[in-house]
């Protein structure tokens, strides 16, 4: 005779009854010998089977598995590497510290403006901290000034450029300085002793003006460009990356030396030498206030040498252009006309 609750023995044995069903079945088992004995026998059988089902596995399967995994191409991704976590942590901490240092130590812009005006200068990094000194700025002068003779006026201008360097004058004043340079003194004799000394020490040309040195004063050159005064600078500007070394050229004789030599030669009757010296003076300093006197002396030397006039192409007031191409019989007439124009008594 089988019990109707026998189907529940297996569920009860493996704990698959609900609490209510289990309570009911337990109450039934208390009264049903059949179910109770079956539970006991099944339980004893399970207890006997269990040790047989708890044996250790052979190592061969895991070894095979590891070998098969080793054969597979590596799919390990960079973000799953073991070093990634500490590395990212360190990098993140460093970044955090950097951000904190930047944000915490940096004053507020308004506070900075009120506290001191210096940060405003720092905010313009293109401008060099130190303005070029006066002689160097003079080296960056427009080419027309370099072609002109160096006079005491340049030295005076250098004094003014110091003011530029100090920021005491504006761009317009600087541009005016370059466009209309100060006039030089009437003569070497008009200079005071200090100015004479400085004038003698300053070379007439600036052979050491190279592109590299110009690049040091990039601000001034750029400003000059803006003002339209940089013509000719390009020719002097060498590539910045390969600055040419300053060439050591022998300094040309100064104006004073030339004038002195020319005067001495003229006084000594060395017409050829005096003529050449005055001609050089005229070529180098055509706007000099003594230029008319130099022309007269050249003409006098020409007369003395009885040579054809060499200043046909010089601005002599209009007279004898192309005169020395004329026939020889008319040369004397031409000389007389020239001498008359230049208020030089012609030698008969």
């Amino acid at each position: 005779m089988s019990c109707a609750q026998k189907e529940r023995v297996v569920d009860s044995l493996y704990g698959e009854l609900s609490d209510v069903a289990r309570a009911e079945f337990d109450a039934h088992v208390a009264t049903c010998d059949s179910c109770r004995k079956e539970l006991e026998v099944f339980g004893r059988a399970r207890a006997l089977v269990r040790p047989m089902l708890d044996q250790a596995a052979p190592a061969s399967a895991m070894q095979r598995l590891r070998a098969e995994i080793q054969k597979q191409p590596s799919k390990t991704r960079w973000w799953s590497l073991p070093w990634l976590l500490p590395a990212l942590s360190t990098a993140g901490l460093a970044l955090l510290l950097l951000v904190m240092r930047t944000t915490l130590l940096k004053p507020h812009p308004l506070v900075r403006m009120e506290s001191s005006p210096e940060p405003l200068q720092v905010s313009v990094p293109v401008v060099p901290a130190a303005k070029p000194e006066a002689p160097k700025v003079a080296q960056t002068a427009p080419p027309e000034r370099q072609r002109q003779p160096t006079t005491v006026g340049d030295i005076e201008g250098a004094d003014k450029l110091d003011n530029f360097a100090d920021g005491k004058r504006g761009k317009k004043e600087k541009a005016q300085h370059w466009a209309d340079p100060p006039k030089s003194p009437a003569s070497f004799a008009d200079m005071d002793s200090r100015t004479k000394k400085i004038a003698q020490s300053v070379p007439l040309e600036f052979p050491h003006t190279t592109g590299a040195e110009l690049s040091k004063h990039a601000l001034d050159v750029d400003e000059l460009k803006e003002l339209g005064l940089s013509e000719g600078l390009k020719a002097d500007r060498a590539p910045v990356t390969t600055p040419a070394p300053a060439m050591a050229q022998p300094p040309l004789p100064s104006e004073n030396q030339l004038v002195e030599k020319a005067s001495r030669a003229f006084a000594d009757g060395k017409w050829q030498e005096a003529r050449a010296l005055y001609r050089e003076l005229l070529l180098r300093f055509p706007a000099h206030r003594s230029a008319p006197m130099w022309k007269q002396r050249i003409a006098q030397a020409d007369v003395q040498l009885r040579s054809p006039p060499t200043l046909a192409d010089e601005p002599t007031g209009g007279g004898g252009a192309g005169g020395w191409a004329r026939p020889a019989k008319k040369a004397r007439t031409v000389d007389a006309e020239k001498n008359q124009l230049q208020n030089v008594p012609s030698k008969k």
Binding site: E16, A45, L48, M52, Q55, P58, I69, R77, P82
Partner: protein, 208 residues
Amino acid sequence: MRVLFFVNRSDEALLIAYQKGEGQALCLLMQRYEKRLWNFVRRFVADHATAEDLLQDVFVRVLRNANEWQPRAKVSTWLFTIARNLCTDQARRMSVRKARSLDENSGDDERPLGEKIASHDGGAEEALLRRESSTEIEAALGQLPDEQREVFLMREVLDMSFAEIAAAVGASEPTVKSRMRYALEKLRDALTVAEPVVAQASESEKRL
């Protein structure tokens, strides 16, 4: 370090980690189920060497199918299903060989081997003489039909619920419970042979 990282992870997390390239994760997962899989395979096929080969096949099959596993499936159920399918395939092949050998004569005994196994006369007497319960239980377990043995082992060894077993074997839950009951009754019979007291109680119950 990576092994320690995966120690407390769930089975599903380990398998996902393997799918993302962590071979160590699959090794750790299989270490968790190695013993249960072995005992399941070992009791499913009687031969030790065959069971060992079969366990390797289970591991390799898991390795090859790991990338196809979907997170919605329970890893243990997925693993045991793989093991169960391989075991049933192996049991089917063995049954074919067994059937072939049972038809042949064995030794000097005129009766086929199948008749000797089916006969309870000599076996019961030997069993009574030995009174070795565990041996009887082990023998009874080996003589269970495959569908009963797999249900019993899945329940006892793999600790699967009857619902999970039903899903794994493709049968209804009452059918699974019925197979379980049959398996338990046969084990009880083996125990009755080994333990006369229990056997007597069982006989008296039958007479009633």
